[in-house]
């Protein structure tokens, strides 16, 4: 196993995602209290992503699980603090955006070499897809749980004795 450089591989990326996501909060006009919570969510996402990456999980799965984790965080915090979920979700997935791969896709496209372009394109698209799927799975599951909960709570007797 390779030597682990904690400062470079762990601390700095988390710090960068904390600062960048807080700055994104300003762009979306989120007030300070929610901005801090959202930025902490982004940092946790980055931490989870790095730990999956270091443990040698396949890349797409890293993105999938990190996106699922941030989705859980966003849903829980939003329920607790009574705010719309997408406030935390938007900021939380920011560190996962595959900017480097998208840039490489564009550069290889200019280069005109199809054999270099296709793998980059597939990777960028696959990563975007796995982030979407991670958010999708968790949100759909939580939605299902909510629907069942409210149905049982408010229409419980009607539901069973109709």
């Amino acid at each position: 196993m390779e030597e682990l450089n904690i400062a470079e591989q762990l601390v700095l990326p988390c710090l960068y995602s904390l600062i960048a996501s807080a700055a994104f909060g300003v762009q979306f006009n989120i007030k300070l209290r929610h901005m801090i919570t959202a930025a902490i969510g982004a940092t946790i996402t980055q931490l989870i992503f790095i730990s999956y990456e270091l443990s040698g999980t396949r890349e797409m799965l890293c993105y999938f699980f990190s996106a699922a984790a941030v989705s859980v965080y966003a849903e829980l915090m939003a329920r607790r603090l009574h705010v719309p979920v997408n406030m935390y979700l938007v900021i939380g997935v920011i560190p996962l955006v595959p900017g480097g791969y998208m840039y490489n896709t564009m550069i290889t496209l200019i280069g005109g070499d199809v054999n270099a372009f296709l793998p980059q394109f597939a990777k960028a698209f696959g990563i975007a897809g796995s982030i979407a799927m991670g958010v999708f799975v968790v949100s759909a599951f939580i939605r299902l749980v909510r629907v069942i909960y409210f149905t049982v709570r408010y229409k419980g007797s009607k539901l069973f004795f109709r």
Binding site: Y16, A23, V26, N29, M87, V93, Y103, I107, S139, R143
Partner: protein, 255 residues
């Protein structure tokens, strides 16, 4: 509360929610809940709502009278999640307290005039995003400096471009072109080692994050029409970014 008043408050709240970047299912859900709270969902009365990211149609049916319909066209959308949060609180308050129309309209006026971050603060936030992402993707200090400066410039340029109300595609082409052009020129002058980290960092400001998130959440909620609309918008922005960057890079590396 009569049909006219319920139409007025639901259309105002719905239009503002769409305008400030809420998901479409949230808009329809809020309107349905408000209508239910005022007893407009029983005894032959009904409130029907149809919303997409560019328009809102509400019809109120009150028993034997002719139904009332209002259409609102939403042209200028701007992301402001703080106002979405406050509107969400307002509709929750409306559902529990059932206040008069005047009270609701006063609350809406308050939300409309809530403070936003000033122009210099927003410019600074663009700069910080650009600089930190240049570092995040493996650039050095100089890359971060130039990415930050270009991002601040891009903020003012996009404000300028916004005034002529272009399509999202055109706007992202222009912004991306300027970013890449300056980055390539700077690296050709020998100030930075390469232009890729600068471009990636500064371009992160243009990534349509809120649009994609809303798109996913609308798809989950079963609002496929709104989801498709926002998905296409996000794809157009991404293609525009690629076109702008590609043309700038080919143009300025050849010179």
């Amino acid at each position: 509360m009569n049909a006219k008043e319920i139409l007025k408050i639901t259309s105002s709240i719905g239009a503002m929610l769409i305008q400030y970047g809420a998901e479409i299912y949230r808009v329809e859900d809020s309107i349905n809940r408000i209508a239910e709270a005022y007893g407009f969902m029983e005894n032959g009365k009904s409130v029907e709502v149809f919303a997409i990211p560019t328009s809102l149609i509400i019809t109120v049916n009150e028993g034997d009278n002719l139904p009332l319909t209002q259409t609102k066209r939403i042209t200028n959308r701007s992301t402001n999640l703080d106002r979405v949060d406050k509107l969400n609180n307002l509709s929750r308050f409306v559902c529990t307290e059932k206040p008069e129309t005047a009270v609701i309209m006063r609350h809406l006026e308050e939300i409309k005039t809530r403070r936003v971050y000033g122009v210099p603060v927003q410019a600074l936030s663009f700069g910080v995003v650009g600089a930190t992402f240049a570092l995040f993707f493996g650039g050095n200090g100089l890359d971060a400096l130039f990415a930050g400066l270009i991002s601040v410039l891009i903020f003012y340029i996009s404000r300028l471009v916004d005034k002529v109300k272009p399509s999202v595609f055109f706007q992202s082409v222009v912004c991306s072109f300027v970013i890449s052009a300056i980055a390539v020129i700077v690296s050709r002058c020998g100030l930075t080692d390469g232009f890729d980290k600068v471009i990636i960092g500064a371009s992160m400001n243009l990534v349509p994050g809120i649009i994609l998130t809303n798109c996913m959440r609308d798809f989950i909620a079963g609002d496929f029409l709104a989801g498709m609309y926002t998905l296409i918008e996000a794809l157009l922005i991404a293609v525009g970014m690629a076109v702008g960057a590609a043309s700038a890079i080919t143009l300025f590396t050849l010179l």
